[in-house]
Symmetry: C2
Subunit: 370 residues, 2 copies
């Protein structure tokens, strides 16, 4: 692969929406306008939404690419705590005050919070206007910007309100990772390892081998990793746009991960929680007998290489985690369900179902012994 | 047509969503559960949302039809002023508190406000759960329950936030009109006359002939009228699910109607404003030369028969109405657009476009002389 040529993937949007492209290439931040115009030709006015941190780094370049005179940039305070309904309403009101009509479009410039929040604003503004996702964190590049999920948190939990609103196009400039703190880079690599774990063992192992370059923000290494992850995610999402079936495999590590994240009151980040969740769910699979022995150990080693935790933090209240387990969005008829591997790089498909309940005692056992 | 057998229409939902049925029949309020289960077999738990007025009249019957033990009924205060983001958030929080999961579904029981509000709750709850629309007002039966539009108002205007979320099924029991005040019945007939005006002159004239029976709430007359209107609306919506083209004809009377409604601070109801808007937009068409002379006068007579106003209320500030005109959602590049008739029962199609700008002076003239 040449680093300099943008790599493009096509994603089926489903829901009758136009399929969309995901483009990965260096310097795309300066070409957002051209790609956006080609992907959503009906839009006569773009408006950039970014948190105040990312806005300071990249908004002027992106705005200048949308129009020679620049375009409006709406900012909000950085951080997951601002991904809520009040911030959604405020951004909506500012769009209305700016006179944005149905022929406006949103550029969501930032990490996962911005993609979800600005995406939900776009999904609901005048019953929906186009959104271009421009992810600047690794988590958003490899995971949240692709797939059309948008939403905000409520006091009861994360992402409890939202909509499927496929983007017009996703533009990934790997150079943006240069400004990320190391812990945020590591966090993003959890989803990359997950993509390998469920579909492609070689890719998972390659992420492990490239760990130090990735953590240092080496642009070539990041670019290859992002391309590898988006290849997996775009294929899975294209085969199941709205989470009826195959897309469930993307939840590997997430059932226990979400519970640990919530039980820690989000002190443990999403990526860190998913890392722990993957190791524990691999052990769950080994205990249940569907996962090849040694898989959890190999996963653990890969995740340690990218500086991610592989056990719950000392002192975490596991009974709280168990309580969150039974209130998970994916609960069906009161029982949490788990995606289990058959081995590194493959999910166990039990009779065509990608997630299944596991005996409570086994779950408790694996949690306690971690 | 036999009054006793339910009449069914199929509507294309578009957006990849399942097509849905609209069923019209007496006594359907007691059969909501069976129809809902057939239309959304994945739902294991239904929750009814209704305003406190409608809840007192019909919620227990509907809830009992959903489960032998009844189901949860969430109520909110009646009235357009409660169709807002705060009420949407509150209903969402109560669903979360009740433990409703992705396998829950919403029954929106009531008039247009409830359909829009509960529909938007369903559209965004856990990124979308099924909704069954059970309209109990004439406006909702003939218009708002069919087509998948959901949303709430903001301080800047009506329906400025929302989503397209096609219902699983729409169940219309014409007996519900028995409890409506006469002014609300009249209001609903504006949309029925509109359906005739844009597609079927015979149907428009039949609504006029049946005026006294319809205003009195005669169930047979209402049933025939609802069937006639839904036939028109379901055909138009099926050919253009998301308002790219033909669906625009449903906005006949609405460009000026919305402006008058807003300028009156919603003292003039939506149906009343649309009635006035239709007469004025018919005159606009006559002035522009595309509408057969005499059309506005015939429309005016039909609307007077169903006890609807045909001129702005005395004292209304027309300059305010003009200001609202230029902030309408349908404005493109700053100019309001109008659907114009060629004659009663047919829309003028100028080069494949269903709405067009009209010279400001002509619009002002028609407004002033009304």
């Amino acid at each position: 692969m040449r680093d300099s040529a943008p790599v493009e993937f096509d994603v089926r949007a489903g829901g009758g929406a136009r399929d969309y492209g995901v483009v990965v290439g260096r310097g795309l931040l300066d070409r957002v306008g051209a790609y956006a115009a080609a992907a959503a030709p009906g839009v006569v006015r773009w408006i950039v939404i970014a948190d105040d941190t990312v806005a300071g780094l990249y908004a002027s370049r992106v705005a200048a690419s949308c129009s020679p005179d620049g375009v409006d940039v709406l900012t909000f305070p950085a951080g997951e705590s601002h991904k809520n309904r009040a911030q959604w309403a405020d951004l909506t009101d500012r769009l209305l005050a700016a006179g944005a009509g149905r022929d406006a479009g949103i550029v969501a410039l930032g990490g996962g919070v911005t993609g979800d929040l600005a995406g939900f604003v776009a999904a609901t503004y005048l019953r929906g206007v186009p959104v271009v996702q421009v992810p600047t964190s690794i988590v958003a590049m490899v995971d949240s910007a692709v797939g059309g999920k948008t939403g905000v948190d409520t006091p009861a939990g994360k992402n409890l309100v939202g909509a499927f609103h496929p983007p017009a196009v996703v533009l990934v400039d790997p150079e943006a990772v240069g400004t990320l703190p190391r812990r945020q880079r590591a966090e993003g690599l959890a989803e990359a390892v997950k993509h390998g774990a469920i579909v492609d063992a070689d890719y998972a192992r390659e992420v492990g081998r490239q760990a130090s370059a990735l953590l240092a923000g080496d642009v070539s290494a990041v670019e290859r990793m992002v391309v590898g992850s988006i290849r997996v995610k775009s294929q899975v999402v294209s085969r199941d746009e709205r989470e009826g079936g195959l897309r469930e495999i993307l939840n590997f590590g997430h059932t226990l991960g979400h519970a640990l994240e919530a039980a820690s009151e989000y002190e443990v980040t999403h990526g860190e929680a998913v890392a722990v969740g993957m190791v524990l769910e691999a052990r769950l699979g080994e205990r249940v007998g569907c996962t090849r022995p040694g898989t959890a150990a190999e996963l653990k080693a890969l995740l340690e290489a990218v500086e991610l935790p592989t056990a719950p933090p000392p002192g975490l209240d596991l009974s709280r985690a168990r309580a969150f387990l039974s209130s998970d969005k994916k609960v069906r008829k009161g029982r949490p369900r788990f995606v289990l591997l058959s081995e590194l790089g493959a999910v166990d498909d039990t009779g065509g179902r990608w997630a299944r309940p596991v005996d409570d005692r086994v779950v408790s056992d694996v949690l306690e012994s971690a």
